[in-house]
Symmetry: C2
Subunit: 96 residues, 2 copies
Amino acid sequence: MNSLGEKIRTIRESKSLLLRQVAAYLEIDTALISKIERGERRLTREQVIKLAKFYNVTEEELLTLWLSDKLLDTIENDPFAMQGLNKAKTILKTLL
Amino acid sequence: MNSLGEKIRTIRESKSLLLRQVAAYLEIDTALISKIERGERRLTREQVIKLAKFYNVTEEELLTLWLSDKLLDTIENDPFAMQGLNKAKTILKTLL
DNA sequence: TTACATTTGACACCTATTGACAAATCAAAC
DNA sequence: GTTTGATTTGTCAATAGGTGTCAAATGTAA
């Protein structure tokens, strides 16, 4: 699952920015942002926040996708993925 | 968050089993199962399955708690935790 | 071709996880 | 109150995973 990668590629292309330019802004290698957009690697939380500024979208929009990707990575193809998600949600509610 | 640890401690105590006995069954050090029950460490997926057999409960019951703990670890105290969970759930539904 | 953008693969470095082991603490029985 | 066994704590080793670089390969358009 790579919702964030697809999203940031779409945004970058809509702004006609090069990987090189985004990489420079994030101060990472161009190869890395390429891998990130294709889902081979993940951004750090701080990089997501930086990108939100750069692309002028809300942190919430990108961080929500970033978290969702991480969660889906965690439960991969587990047959009890949905039960685990529901249980986590129930517990999280009690913590808020 | 340590739902599984609390659950397996409760089950173990209800059966009057010693940490030593559970550790022997799982073929790990007693200190490790102690830490696991108190949430300092995590079981591997295979160990959860073994424990379900040993304790005669369903794999689903323990694996759901195990996944939930992992998910809650992943999102920690993120302000967008709930949004991320909801997005992950939405995406997971489309995959089933 | 040439020039530039992107992708791929290999590797280094750092952090997190899983485990063992030894020592410390706790709890009951004696 | 000492002894015995259970549990916990702290430290270290081995391994796995994540983040990054670099060089080479591939794609693309003039």
